[in-house]
Symmetry: C3
Subunit: 341 residues, 3 copies
């Protein structure tokens, strides 16, 4: 059942230079240097794994030009070994072979439009006005609400909910438990109680976006929440109403973005980071894990907040001092004035 291609075919297909290797060798998979067997291809992207090169049983190792020089073992030379590895690995993916058509258990409204070349899984619910384009694959238990569009070749792995007015581009990949298009958190305080502010907008997801398991993206209050193309969201992320995320940005797990924040292109947002609402972040900004962005960031670069992890006893003493940091600084200022040199 495992795919087999030869080392030579891999080199040719992905435009890699084969050094010291037997082009006829059959390859059956990819692996880390440490665990590769003699029919698997490994890779060296992170220099700290270089020590594992010699001991690796891999049929060939994908390396960059500089690392290939002087190498006596079989390797495949790539401009970017991690990118090359990602491409080679796709040969060994076992993607579900989804047959076109609608599973007999699915509940499809007569007012929905489903391309004959789409695949609709067990117990899916497709509501009126929804449109599922050619090649789209919906795994079991997906709910596609009113007036939603699932673009061509998109894949909703299983149990994905598009509540209402959500439009996915092409080749969008969404993992189980994600909810797109739920109401944003809009409240107005009316003397002594809350009243709900109707959420009337939608969600627009660009081509080639990926959205992680149990991630939530709310519909806009007025206007839409937008992910431009090739935005990558990990699991458990919260995107509030009317947020806009620029193309090619990636957010790691548990990040949270508050309402109407604007994130630029090519940004990297670390895990569990928070971004407050109604601010904007420039292109190519990196925010490190668990940092909180409280104001707009206008310059590209890396940004952080928080304090370093320490043994609790030391941390407690320092944290207690933080509560008086302003006073400490004032005392220091006073001391300097009292002792002018």
């Amino acid at each position: 059942m495992t795919v087999a291609v030869t080392l030579g075919e891999i080199a040719q297909r992905f435009d890699l230079r084969l050094v010291h290797g037997d082009p006829a060798l059959p390859i059956r998979g990819v692996a880390t240097l440490a665990h590769a067997e003699a029919t698997q291809v490994g890779f060296l992207a992170n220099p700290r794994y270089r020590a594992q090169l010699d001991g690796s049983r891999a049929a060939a190792v994908i390396v960059r030009e500089a690392d290939a020089a002087g190498m006596t073992r079989s390797c495949l030379v790539a401009a970017d070994p991690y990118v090359a590895f990602a491409k080679v690995a796709t040969l060994f993916e076992r993607l579900p072979a989804a047959a076109s058509g609608i599973h007999p258990s699915a509940s499809v409204d007569a007012g929905a439009q489903i391309d004959p070349a789409a695949s609709i899984g067990a117990f899916c619910v497709i509501e009126a006005g929804a449109c599922i384009e050619a090649g789209a694959v919906l795994g079991p238990h997906c709910i596609i609400g009113r007036d939603c569009v699932v673009g061509a070749q998109s894949r909703l792995v299983a149990r994905v909910t598009l509540v209402q007015d959500v439009r996915l581009g092409k080749r969008v990949l969404i993992h189980p438990g994600a909810v797109l298009g739920a109401d944003g958190f809009g409240l107005a305080f009316d003397r002594d109680h809350w009243i709900k502010v109707p959420q009337l907008g939608g969600v627009i997801i660009g081509d080639d976006c990926e959205i992680g398991a149990n991630t939530t993206i709310d519909r806009g209050a007025l206007g839409d929440t937008v992910l431009e193309e090739d935005v990558r969201l990990d699991n458990q992320i919260q995107i509030a109403h009317n947020v806009r995320i620029g193309a090619h940005s990636a957010l790691a797990g548990c990040a949270a973005v508050a309402g109407s924040a604007q994130i630029g292109r090519y940004c990297l947002i670390g895990g569990s980071a928070g971004i407050l609402g109604h601010l904007s972040i420039a292109d190519r900004v990196t925010v490190t894990a668990m940092s909180l962005v409280t104001h707009s960031i206008r310059e590209p670069g890396e940004y952080s907040s928080g304090t370093p992890i320490q043994p609790n006893r030391q941390w407690r003493r320092n944290a207690a001092r933080f509560k008086h940091l302003d006073e400490i600084a004032r005392r220091l200022g006073a001391a300097r004035k009292e002792n002018p040199q």
Copy 2:
């Protein structure tokens, strides 16, 4: 298909004073000042958008009395423009018209009690002892476990799970992916391994609460987890066993509340904030985003923890010093003693 009412009807219905406007003008929606078309109503609540007033094409703008004075464009005067806007916007909501009755695909236990005026969606599962009151609407894929109550006029948008012993009040709104009544995280350490502490309580949700997508509220260990009326929870929030949240409090996305914490009335908890267990927070406390509450708070007011976001290079230097803050403070104290004035 769009609703149309006149500007005069809106003024009358919501008790707003129309200034400079044509009462006969048909209105077809609401919008932001920047995007409003000539048949839409806008609003000015946040003063920093005042500059957009002149350029807005809105048929009328909801403003407060002070802003209306001297205005030459059409406006609707309100005591609280955001509240008035929320009410006007409800005219243009497209809520799903849920027919009463049980979808033929739903799985309903003979021991469940479902009001004829309730609506049960596709693939719902209703277990024994559950009670669904009049006017309640369950979207597709909801699971209502044993002995749960869904109060009158409540709406579970889709894919909501009430595990067991969960009682919802009236007009409760729950978004997809929420899980109420799962076991609390109760563990006892028995020499060299964990044993599970049975979770025997339930969940009580007051009238008019709203619960966001993928939010979780655990059942009590002994006794119940309680949200009083009009509590508003955003997405991805975690409420542990035996927490009690007072009426009219609101928690933003990704907040987490540990076991047996008591939160007062009219509290505002920011996004990604954390509240430790077995403590209590007074009424009218605000906790800012990503702050961690580690002890009880007895006075109303605003509370924060954390450090400001900075360019990483500067942050690193400051963070390194934080690790020695106690020592720095001691040195400063010593320096002052050595140089007494």
Copy 3:
């Protein structure tokens, strides 16, 4: 319908010493000291509840030997009262009586293997190559993907998704909304856009693990993501690809662990804590709530980061100083050099 056992039977069954109590007294439940009725058993584990002992109406109170001395009320003496309470409480749990067999609405692939002594709930989907062992109970709406194994006596409460290549041990308990085996967040940056790195590994969950509601555990990129036996995960936790968590460790709600991190045995990770990728944490490490682990921890003990919660006005002044902490420390160093004693 409530179970009744006598106080004497409880003492005998759990090897507790009954003092001053009537062994024939029927017991109908467990409760806190404050709320116990005359037919319920209470417990005293946390000394700060000792004041409630005298007023409690409990039929008997589980206490440790030291607390029993001199007590005139009925009690059950235990080496560890909380452990004993957990065991006694199991008598009063109402676990769903799941009949063996497959609910007629479930969708089961012909290539799946289901033990006749397993129970498959409404609308479950079991894909080819899946194996459900004896005594396993799947509540409604579970999805068991290709080549997944649900070990004997495991219980998936409802709406649990195992995407692919997930192997659960015996007696694993998983709460609603959890997603195991979704793709890890693997991306390679190819000049100007992301390409997806195929995720080819699986997930292995040891015996006796518990996994909370809406928690996500991704499949490995190469190799597996592993939880050893008796690992306990609360709700809303994110476990990235290729993480390994040692036996008997427990993580509280909203914790997040990045890719390839290794957590030792008997670790305790607080709520909303973050652990960066490619690092390792020794056995018996405690990380307090909302702390961020940025480097490996080699020694057992308790670790923390962050700053204490304060009234916002004070916090603002201190936080502003944090931005200049390095400069403050430098000035202090300079001041000391200028005034050498």
